[in-house]
Amino acid sequence: MESKTTTIQSELEAYLKKEGITINQFAGVSGVNSGTLSSIINGNRPIAMKQLDRITAGMGLPEGEFYELYIDECVVHSTPDWRRLGPFLQRCAELDKLECIRQVVQTLMDNISYAQALFETAEEFFVQGKRQAAAMLYEGVAESEKYQHSERLALCQYRLFTIALGKDQDANLRTAMHFEYFVERLDEVDQLNALKDLANIYASLHRWNRVEALAEEMGHKASIQYQNKYHKVSRRTVQKEPARPLCFYILYAHLLRAAVCDERGDYIQALHYVSLYSDFSWVQETTEEARQIMEQFKEWAEANTYLYRLMTGETKVLADYVEFINGRENEMVPGLTKIMQAANRLDFNVDEIIERFEPHLGLKNLKTRMGKLNAQVTEDKYTVLLYELAVYCLNAQKIKNGIAYLFQCLETSVRMNSDSHIVQCVVLFEQYRHLSSGEDQERYKILIGEVQKINDKKSGSAAGSR
């Protein structure tokens, strides 16, 4: 049984004894002043972060070897000092020592006065892309403020929502529903982005009623802010600029509402919204970014006009539409999917089009003129395309190709944990099972095994939470 508690000091002392070197010699190896080393060993001086890293390196140990001990000494058993803790958290994030961050947050949050410093560090981590480390700090701050209706709490929840989004649709839905409650507490500029992000996630989940409500709210709030910014006699001083020029949110709200009409099959109303987001006569912004936004919406208006007309049965626009998506890699997946949907619904031949675009297919990160396209929406769109291709090929009795597309679709659906897509794939396969090969049936069995595994896991966690 250990009689003495292990500390960084005792470790250092033991090391010097074992190696038979003096403090002065170790000062030369580690680069830490001998006086400082002596104070540290005598326990008269708290260790600064840089000194700790130098001592660890001097002892030939892996980076961060003493971090757990450091927490014990500088956070748990003494009054925490932010001058040491800030750099410590930064190093923990760099070395991915998330458990250390968790311990520090747990200890610090007994004292609410650390909330602001933790929040600012979390914001730094978030910007630096250290998302898991940031999430731990946001969770700590949010926990300490859960009974307060603060803007900071809402911002923590917004960041946690952004960090938590992934491929799993079930998890994305839970995250979105949790965050929605906090949107109203954000400042009005952040609200616009939050509404846009939520609408995008609900679009990837096919929750079109929610998309409609959020788009309406975003359009409404953006219009008020636009009015305040450009038309009011006594213009308020704008303290914070939104992530995009305000005109973007107004135009995007119209585009989302057109998408909802598309889902309902109301193409006339969808075309009405197209006319709204292709009218820029009211736009006051003159920046390059605003110009790019207008160009982008003009392009989408053209594409969507083709596709809504195609969906109403106007097959004569097909050639123009194909020309439009040809060479526009970012519009190829939605464009081709719509063409496949129209072909499946209206029963016309698009073999040549598939042949032409097949080499360009594949799940890629899509972009717009303004930046990237939401990853969840992109993956969902690609899954729908695979399904439509499967339906088309199977209808045309091209069983081998059809099954191959179907399996790709099922694989993506399993990865996304999308119940609705999985069920659609199962229904389609069962219709063509009698035409599939033994090899196909074996592959199908494996994929369904994956579905079962996911469900066992879900049942397990549901039972655990009961």
């Binding site: 392009e299 464009g335 999917t337 719509k338 339906v391 209808n395 219709q431």
Partner: protein, 44 residues
Amino acid sequence: MIRKVALLLAVGSIFFAVDAPALVMQSASTHSFIEPLTHGVGAE
């Protein structure tokens, strides 16, 4: 979900016992995700 899949499999077997090929052609042509893929959805 397991129940859903099991039910679908059961329905599938009955379906094929009745008149598979003809029905397949009829139903597959209407089998399509009716999801909007409006260009621009998902803009960040």
